[in-house]
């Protein structure tokens, strides 16, 4: 008789929780191909939400009750400084093991020798080949109260996060230290970095997302944000230039209030600018761009006059008959830019198809599981109602089949969770494209500043010439003419200075662009190759597992093999 009936029912019980899992509908974050950030935020919630269907099942079912499962080391590797661990790519080892899943993986992947743009696995890896490291952890969110100057009733509550840094880099002057920061501080840091490092591909900070904070549970939202912050800071320290920046050091180390200039909002800047403008037009205040402002773009600044001038210049560039005095000549750059645009398009396309692939794989796993469950129920039914031995034999066959189907289903789901992680590289690089465009626009706005100053200089100089020419004719206007001439010469000198600064700035940004593009190419090649390897190894490993499961069933049902097949 079927002594093994009970086994089947235990499994049915285990997998009853799978039914619950199956009822957790994944809210189609995979549908909208344009908002990959939605996908990414959904994915990061998936990773942190242990009851999510895509989470590796170890989080749902305790490992010891199921000899087949063992914790996938994958998630651990996301944050470990272990470049030599090949199991980053390999599927998790299994208790009922089939040994050499792929003979290949053990001479592993010593790829992580330079800082990665995007792969979260290598965020904490050092960017030079000597083993310096900077490891950042964000934890312990706490509610705090603003000092009671707040006008808004009940306002003034905010969350701070504990940011812990462990490092052996001497410039930090310490091995381990912690600070508390709020999100606003992160925004400040990000803005200051954007100002200081124009032209570099600076990792984008997490969104402010006001809407999400209203819609989600506070806890969920805080957790999401914590994860995002950690990711962001790790990217910053992985960037070869940014990691040495003062702004970042200050952010990570200085206790108490963040000693960086806070960002004022656009409105008040415009307001300041509007106040200044009349004075500028009346000649009371400087009409020349101050040196420290030249190095910043006109847009978003307080100098409205400068803004208007550059606007005029840009219109002249586009519509005017004459070519501006300095143009983007770097052919190599223009080619690169073309290529970046093409790359972005292809990445976007792959990203969309990758989402469909992941959904199809998930569906396959789900349906396979449902089929298995249906047969488990049938097995139970036939056993309970059995009147003939043929029924018991059939119930036995069904159980073997159903068990295999449920196992295969789980493998598909695990494979998929890891596929998602691997293919996420594509999304990361898509996100990076925005940063690249922003660095390119740093370049073009710097160029615009130069062009504007050059035109201004040339018009000032022609004014000076005219003044020179006319002066001799008018009698008695000598003194005022001299003064005007002096003023004009002064303005010309100041403009000349500003122009030189602007040109230097433009060159600097150009060089930043160039070196970053080089870095991007190198790292992208390595990251994408890594992604392909991971994807392929994963598929091989899990497909072998699945094949084994079914081969066993083939053997068990070999007595039914068709004579003529």
């Amino acid at each position: 008789m079927m002594g093994s009936e009970n086994e089947g029912f235990e499994e049915a019980h285990l997998y009853a929780s799978k039914e619950e899992m199956e009822n957790l509908v994944l809210d189609n974050p995979l549908n909208d191909s344009n908002s990959y950030s939605n996908y990414r935020s959904a994915m990061s919630s998936a990773i942190s939400d242990t009851s999510h269907p895509l989470a590796p099942s170890i989080l749902v079912t305790p490992a010891d009750s199921d000899p087949i499962l063992s914790p996938p080391p994958y998630r651990d590797h996301l944050y470990h400084n272990s470049p030599t661990e090949s199991s980053y790519i390999e599927p998790p080892p299994f208790g009922d093991n089939v040994g050499d899943v792929n003979g290949v993986e053990n001479h592993s992947l010593n790829l992580d020798n330079f800082g990665r743009f995007s792969r979260s696995a290598s965020w904490s890896t050092s960017s030079s080949s000597d083993s310096e490291y900077v490891k950042i952890t964000v934890s312990n969110p706490q509610k705090e109260q603003e000092a009671s100057n707040s006008i808004v009733p009940g306002g003034g509550n905010y969350v701070t996060y504990l940011i812990t840094t462990r490092t052996n880099v001497p410039e930090f002057g310490g091995v381990e230290f912690s600070v508390r920061r709020r999100f606003r501080d992160v925004v400040t840091l990000s803005d200051r970095l954007a100002e200081s490092y124009r032209g570099l591909f600076i990792p984008p900070r997490p969104d402010k997302s006001v809407v999400e904070s209203q819609v989600m549970h506070k806890q969920e939202f805080v957790e999401l944000r914590r994860v995002a912050l950690e990711k962001y800071l790790r990217r910053l320290v992985a960037h070869p230039v940014i990691k040495r920046s003062d702004e970042l050091k200050v952010f990570l180390q200085v206790q108490g209030k963040l000693p960086l200039a806070t960002t004022t909002d656009v409105a008040s800047r415009m307001l300041d600018g509007a106040v200044k403008l009349p004075k500028q037009l009346l000649g009371d205040s400087s009409v020349v761009v101050a040196p420290h402002e030249v190095v910043q773009p006109a847009k978003g600044g307080r100098d409205l006059l400068r803004l208007f001038k550059e606007l005029k210049q840009s219109v002249a560039n586009d519509w005017g008959g004459s070519r501006p005095l300095v143009v983007e000549e770097d052919k190599e750059f223009l080619e690169k830019k073309e290529k970046i645009n093409d790359l972005e398009q292809q990445l976007s396309n792959v990203s969309k198809q990758a989402e469909s692939l992941v959904k199809a794989q998930q569906d396959m796993g789900d349906t396979m599981g449902e089929l298995g469950l249906a047969f488990i129920k049938l097995t139970k039914f036939e056993n309970e109602e059995a009147m003939f031995n043929s029924q018991r034999a059939r119930a036995h066959d069904m159980k073997g089949f159903a068990t295999a189907a449920v196992k295969a289903s789980r493998f598909y789901r695990e494979l998929n969770a890891q596929t998602v992680e691997h293919l996420d590289t594509i999304h990361e690089y898509l996100g990076l494209m925005l940063v690249v465009h922003s660095a390119f626009s740093d370049r073009s706005s710097a160029l615009l500043t130069v062009q504007t100053l050059l035109s201004e200089l040339s018009s000032l100089e022609s004014r000076a010439e005219k003044l020179e020419a006319t002066s001799s004719k008018v009698f008695g206007a000598g003194k005022s003419r001299n003064r005007k001439m002096e003023d004009l010469k002064e303005t010309i000198r100041a403009t000349e200075d500003a122009k030189n600064i602007a040109i230097r700035e433009y060159q600097r940004i150009k060089e930043n662009n160039r070196s970053e593009l080089e870095r991007l190419d190198k790292e992208r090649e390595a990251d994408l190759l890594n992604m392909l390897k991971g994807f392929v190894h994963n598929q091989v490993g899990y497909m072998e597992k699945i094949a084994n499961v079914w081969t066993k069933v083939v053997e068990e049902t070999s007595c039914y093999a068709k004579e003529n097949s």
């Binding site: 792929n102 290949v104 093409d342 790359l343 292809q346 990445l347 396309n349 792959v350 198809q353 990758a354 469909s356 692939l357 959904k359 199809a360 569906d363 396959m364 349906t367 396979m368 449902e370 089929l371 249906a374 047969f375 129920k377 049938l378 039914f381 109602e385 009147m387 003939f388 043929s390 029924q391 059939r394 066959d397 069904m398 089949f401 295969a408 090649e525 390595a526 994408l528 190759l529 392909l532 390897k533 392929v536 598929q539 091989v540 497909m543 072998e544 699945i546 094949a547 079914w550 081969t551 069933v553 083939v554 049902t557 070999s558 007595c559 039914y560 093999a561 068709k562 004579e563 003529n564």
Partner: protein, 400 residues
């Protein structure tokens, strides 16, 4: 063709076909005939036999779906108690009716249908079967159109019968006693089993069908993914570009494998499951017949008794109606005995059939599981091998 599957489970000894009686049929060559709304599919039915009742060792006729329906209905009427092999459904959606897949599924199902009849020790002796396998097309058409309401059960009739069989609470009609039902606990158990079984099987079949779809969807997405990856590879250039390009090509190859497996799954697993469901429905029809027969037997027994009482009364009264009544009574008695015989035959047959059914289904499902597992193992190994072949190429890329 399922010529060699034995019915009772005992294996046939390997003798030459000419000495062992055999009857094997194949349904082949679906051809679309007619135009527009009148269009239909015709099949070639090839009979090979050494049975003396047949017109020769081989006969080929042309039949259409409604001919098979005729055969099924005739058998159902004549062989009460036996589970008549089920037919594939009448077609559903119009545009699907002539798709290659539907035609193939139907052909396979019809082939199985006829062969099951040919292998059933009672049904294979049916004259209607011989007509079906041998008559020329005009005769067949005539017979087909002769089918009247007597043999054709309208859907509403079936519904009513099922309701009666299923309901525990009988209708009370005109204050009469409740209509009689068997009070046989074992039979009750069987009926309950059959009804529950249908539900379970229907659910399994639903998931099986979905699984076929999933294979197709995964195949499609692999194909699209492969194309996109190839384009990305073209954009990247250098060794990474090549890697992408190879990945894309592999992906497209796998897409083909998945589509193939989807078809296999449909024909070798989903269809057998559907067939199982149909078989259970056929049993339900037989259950209904048995209920009818039981009721008829009871009614006739009661009526006969009443007639007997009346006859005795008349005899005592020395009425001149006695002769008439005597004749009526005798006629009724014969009918009643006939009804009882019929009912008992159905009970006996059903008991045999149920054993045969269970054994057959264990065999059918065993084969289905075997084919499923074979297909999945083949698919998974194919996928693993394809991706594995990429690994050395990817390794080569990173070292360059």
């Amino acid at each position: 063709m399922i010529a060699t599957r034995s019915v009772s489970g005992s294996s046939q000894s390997p003798r030459s076909p000419s000495s062992q009686p055999y009857l094997s049929v194949s349904v082949t060559d679906p051809v679309k005939l007619g135009n527009g709304v009148q269009a239909y599919i015709s099949y070639r039915v090839i009979t090979k036999t050494n049975l003396p009742e047949y017109q020769g060792p081989e006969k080929i006729v042309i039949r259409r779906y409604s001919d098979f329906v005729w055969l099924h209905d005739r058998l159902f009427e004549k062989y009460k108690g036996i589970f008549i092999p089920p037919l594939p459904e009448k077609s559903a959606v119009e545009k699907f009716r002539f798709s290659a897949e539907f035609i193939e599924m139907r052909r396979q199902a019809l082939d199985i249908f006829v062969n099951r009849i040919a292998l059933h020790h009672e049904l294979q002796q049916s004259e209607d079967l011989r007509t079906f396998l041998q008559a020329d097309e005009e005769t067949m058409e005539r017979l087909r159109s002769q089918e009247t309401g007597i043999f054709k059960k309208k859907p509403t009739d079936f519904m009513q019968i099922f309701k009666d069989v299923q309901s525990k609470v009988s209708d009370v009609v005109l204050g009469k006693e409740k209509p009689v039902e068997e009070s046989n606990p074992e039979y009750e158990k069987l009926k309950h089993y059959i009804f529950e079984l249908e539900n379970h099987l229907a659910e399994a079949q639903k998931h099986a069908y979905r699984l076929v779809k999933r294979h197709r969807e995964l195949g499609q997405s692999l194909s699209d993914f492969g194309k996109a990856v190839k384009l990305l590879g073209a954009c990247e250039g250098n060794s990474l570009g090549k890697a992408f390009s190879e990945l894309g090509t592999k992906s497209e190859t796998l897409s083909v494998k998945l589509q193939k497996e989807a078809h296999q799954l449909l024909m070798n697993f989903e269809e057998p499951l559907k067939d199982y469901v149909r078989a259970v429905q056929s049993i339900k029809a037989t259950i209904a017949e048995r209920a009818n027969a039981f009721r008829r037997q009871c009614e006739l027994a009661e009526t006969t008794k009443l007639k007997e009482i009346n006859l005795n009364k008349l005899t005592l009264m020395r009425s001149d109606k006695v002769g008439e009544a005597e004749i009526e009574y005798q006629e009724l008695k014969v009918e009643s005995e006939e009804a009882t015989r019929m009912f008992e035959m159905i009970v006996r047959l059903m008991n045999e059939e149920i054993v045969r059914f269970q054994e057959q289904k264990t065999l059918d499902m065993g084969i289905a599981f075997h084919e499923f597992a074979k297909g999945q193992a083949r698919l998974a190994n194919g996928i693993a091998n394809a991706w594995r072949s990429l690994i050395p190429k990817l390794e080569a890329c990173s070292s360059s």
